[in-house]
């Protein structure tokens, strides 16, 4: 805002905003920082995979077959002689993409729905949240399985289906945020100043509701990735020729007795990512002082 004007008039002390405070707390949390670092690294690798992967995705060598890790193939090769590192990198691209995109779908639907319900209140709120309650009570995992069975295994559907499950909690959190913020006296003060509803939402509600949303988003990504992996493991998610960590784990499980590295490396990649996201989410929750988000 127009703070620079002030600087000319007085020697003002710098304040510490809540965001700065939160960052300070987060930066003291080693696990969360580790999570953040791993995550950034994995996202970077996933983005650059087509250029930095050691082998091409389609390159195989049936004569070579499955070999343990070696200098040429750091993570070994699978039964078709494909480089495991390349497979894990390409699988990560899909797994991370599903995690982030489906979460984004959930985020958009959930926040809009929850914010409208919470802000409108009264009967609109009652009807909207009743719908959420009913959908919430549906056995979703089974529905997604059904959906994938009936409509074939297509990626777009996968995003939509997973997003459709996860938006419910997001909507509930957003609504309770908006509702409790609405009753805060600083919002009443803003109303009595004569601010328009749009300004109140932009300047007073959103900045204060952001914390729980950030935390919950961070914790939703891993559960979405798990869901994708679960479906892929059953053969109902990502389909060849594309691959994902869930699919690689499923192949690895079939031949784990002879070639344990085929199970191990995609497993490590996925577990490490989930760890990182959960540590980061827990760290953010503590740093932003969000209570009751997802446990």
């Amino acid at each position: 805002m127009a703070t620079p004007v002030i600087a000319n008039i007085v020697e003002a002390e710098e304040g510490t905003s809540l965001w700065q405070d939160a960052w300070l707390r987060l930066s003291r949390n080693r696990l969360a920082l580790f999570g953040l670092a791993v995550l950034v690294l994995f996202i970077l690798i996933a983005t650059l995979t087509p250029w930095i992967a050691p082998y091409s995705y389609t390159q195989h060598n049936l004569d070579l077959g499955a070999t343990p890790p070696s200098a040429a193939h750091w993570l070994g090769t699978d039964i078709f002689g494909r480089d495991m590192l390349t497979q894990v990198m390409y699988g990560g691209r899909i797994s991370l993409a599903v995690g982030f995109i489906a979460t984004a779908v959930a985020l958009v639907i959930g926040i809009t729905w929850g914010a409208i319900a919470g802000y409108a209140g009264g009967r609109i709120d009652a009807v909207m949240m009743r719908m959420v309650d009913i959908i919430y009570a549906l056995p979703f995992m089974i529905f997604i399985v059904l959906l994938m069975v009936v409509f074939g295994r297509n990626m777009l559907l996968l995003f939509l289906a997973i997003g459709a499950v996860e938006w419910l909690t997001m909507a509930r959190i957003m609504r309770s945020q908006v509702q409790s913020l609405r009753q805060q006296e600083f919002v009443e003060a803003a109303i009595s100043l004569g601010l328009s509803p749009a300004t109140i939402v932009r300047r007073h509600l959103i900045p204060n509701a952001l914390g729980p949303i950030i935390v919950y988003t961070t914790l939703t990504i891993p559960s979405v990735m798990l869901l994708e992996a679960f479906l892929s493991f059953l053969g109902l998610g990502v389909q060849p020729p594309q691959t994902s960590w869930g699919l690689l784990i499923s192949y690895g499980a079939e031949s784990m007795e002879e070639y344990p590295w085929l199970l191990l490396y995609p497993g490590i990649a996925m577990t490490l990512t989930l760890f990182s996201l959960n540590f980061l989410g827990d760290g953010l929750r503590d740093a932003l002082d969000v209570r009751g988000a997802k446990d």
Binding site: A2, I6, I9, Q184
Partner: protein, 528 residues
């Protein structure tokens, strides 16, 4: 009976060591009440909790001292020995009866627990004793309520249950930590009376912790004044009130609102008329009539005190005037315009003329906005300033409310409660309103800060030619500021009169009861 000597307690955290209690000594005699007085953070509660080993260690740490009780040093007892003492020889009553009873357990079971654990009596015997005691502390029909859960009791009744629970093993010492602070003023008076009566009858010692000198004045024999972990002054009650030696004690005494407003207001025309105002809230299928057909006027330049206990609808009236809650029926006429009938655009312009100051300065400021942003927002919104000259106005406001200019870029969480309330007052006055609703503006503050904020409001009222609706549960505070007073009970007006008229000749029984419940009777008797 209890002698604490040179008690020192610290809290050790990552940020460093904080000395909460710094070498204090005091005694409690059998059959006497010793009160420890101090503002929040003075260490009074920590000191008392440490006697029973109830502060978590770490981060708490007892540095020094002895606490002799019946020949034993409490601080040297093992945890098992301490447990034998707790609830048997020394019992406690806490501040908030709403949270201090276990919501998952019937009152009877909680009540019998100390008896069953310490004295190993049978369940039937314990129940009988519990019923007797409930009767004694004034619970009506204990036989049918003993198996109820805490949420089925009112705040005052729960505090009676807490007292019964503390007394069930006939302890020799009772530690009462702000036992009436969370209660309405009439309930407070009843609970204090009950405590005093039970204490006399059983001849036990009480260590009474409070922030409120007026409350203590009515019951304590000895008063210990604490500030920042140290004892400032100790003496018997009359000495403290008549000849306090220490400046801090004198400041506390002065902070107790006594007497009325000195200058008398000239009669003027009404600025705000409230006619047949009703505000109901839906609750399931029925309505709660928070405000029920209320009419009164506020004259230009006057301070009107709106007084009532919790649930009287006093805050709802303030919010109804500003259209912060939808009203059910009635008119609010401000300077000739019915506010309830205004369209959105007209309302926005009107809003710069009416403002509100809230009770809780922690909740009334947006935690993500600096002082500058908070104060500049109304100025820019109503076009009183543009971006290039808003800075000067903000600084002027900060001067007016007594905030250092260098704080302009700080955030609310970096301020104390009193400073935050100054920011909130600055925000309310930014648009130079004619009328302000002050909704319990000092109830959340320590007494000395309370006095400062009240002084500030009085000054600013004159400087800004304000008309004020001053809402409070605290008659003594209202008396100091208000020209006239409206007394509310359960959404209806009980009585309205000029301030001195109301205090000297209350006409309604409820008003009389309220006036009699104001703590500090002894103090007022001394003053005259």
């Amino acid at each position: 009976m209890l002698t604490a000597e040179n008690l020192g307690i610290s809290f050790v955290t990552r940020m460093g060591t904080n000395k909460a209690v710094d070498g204090i000594s005091f005694t409690v005699e059998a059959g006497k009440i010793t009160a420890i007085i101090g503002e929040s953070g003075s260490g009074k509660s920590v000191a008392c909790y440490s006697l029973l080993g109830l502060i978590p260690q770490p981060p708490g740490r007892i540095d020094s001292g002895r606490a002799l009780f019946q020949g034993q040093d409490l601080l040297q007892l093992t945890e098992a020995q301490l447990r034998e003492t707790r609830g048997r020889d020394i019992a406690m009553v806490f501040q908030d009866p709403m949270t201090c009873l276990n919501p998952y357990m019937t009152v009877g079971n909680q009540l019998m627990e100390p008896l069953r654990y310490h004295k190993k009596v049978s369940k039937a015997q314990a129940r009988e004793r519990a019923l007797e005691l409930l009767e004694e502390v004034g619970i009506r029909d204990p036989a049918s309520t003993i198996d109820n859960y805490p949420h089925q009791f009112s705040g005052g009744m729960r505090q009676r249950v807490m007292i019964a629970m503390a007394l069930i093993n006939e302890p020799k010492l009772l530690i009462a930590d702000e036992p009436t602070t969370a209660l309405d003023v009439t309930i407070q008076a009843q609970i204090l009376e009950l405590l005093a009566a039970l204490q006399k009858k059983r001849n036990i010692g009480i260590l009474f912790i409070s922030h409120d000198l007026a409350v203590v004045a009515d019951i304590a024999d000895t008063i210990v004044v604490m500030q920042e972990g140290k004892i400032i002054e100790t003496g018997n009650r009359d000495d403290i009130f008549r000849h306090a030696q220490q400046p801090y004690t004198q400041k506390l005494l002065q902070a107790i609102p006594t007497g009325g407003k000195s200058e008398v207001l000239q009669k003027s025309e009404p600025l705000l008329s409230i006619r047949n105002l009703s505000t109901w809230f839906r609750q399931g299928k029925t309505h709660v009539k928070a405000v029920d057909d209320v009419s009164f006027e506020i004259r230009r330049g006057e301070v009107l005190g709106l007084v009532g206990e919790s649930g009287s609808g006093k805050s709802t009236i303030g919010r109804s005037i500003l259209r912060l809650v939808p009203i059910t029926s009635g008119e609010v006429i401000f300077d000739g315009t019915d506010i309830t009938a205004l369209a959105a655009r007209e309302l926005k312009n009107m809003r710069s003329r009416l403002q509100i100051i809230f009770q809780d300065p922690f909740a009334s400021l947006n935690p993500r906005m600096t002082v500058f942003d908070t104060l500049a927002e109304p100025l820019l919104l109503h076009g009183l300033d543009n971006r290039s000259n808003v800075g000067a106005s903000v600084l002027k406001l900060m001067d007016d409310v007594g905030l250092a200019r260098s704080f302009v870029r700080k955030y609310p969480h970096e301020f104390s409660g009193g400073q935050r309330q100054r920011i909130a007052i600055g925000r309310a006055l930014a648009t130079r309103p004619e009328f302000v609703v002050a909704d319990e503006p000092v109830s959340a503050l320590d007494v000395t800060i309370q006095a400062q904020i009240l002084d500030l409001m009085r000054e600013l009222g004159k400087e800004y030619s304000l008309t004020t609706l001053f809402i409070s549960h605290d008659l003594a505070v209202v008396r100091k500021l208000a020209d006239r007073i409206v007394v509310l009970q359960k959404g209806k007006i009980v009585e309205q009169a000029g301030t001195s008229e109301l205090f000297e000749h209350p006409r309604q029984p409820y008003t009389r009861q309220l006036l009699q419940s104001i703590p500090g009777r002894v103090l007022r008797a001394n003053a005259t």
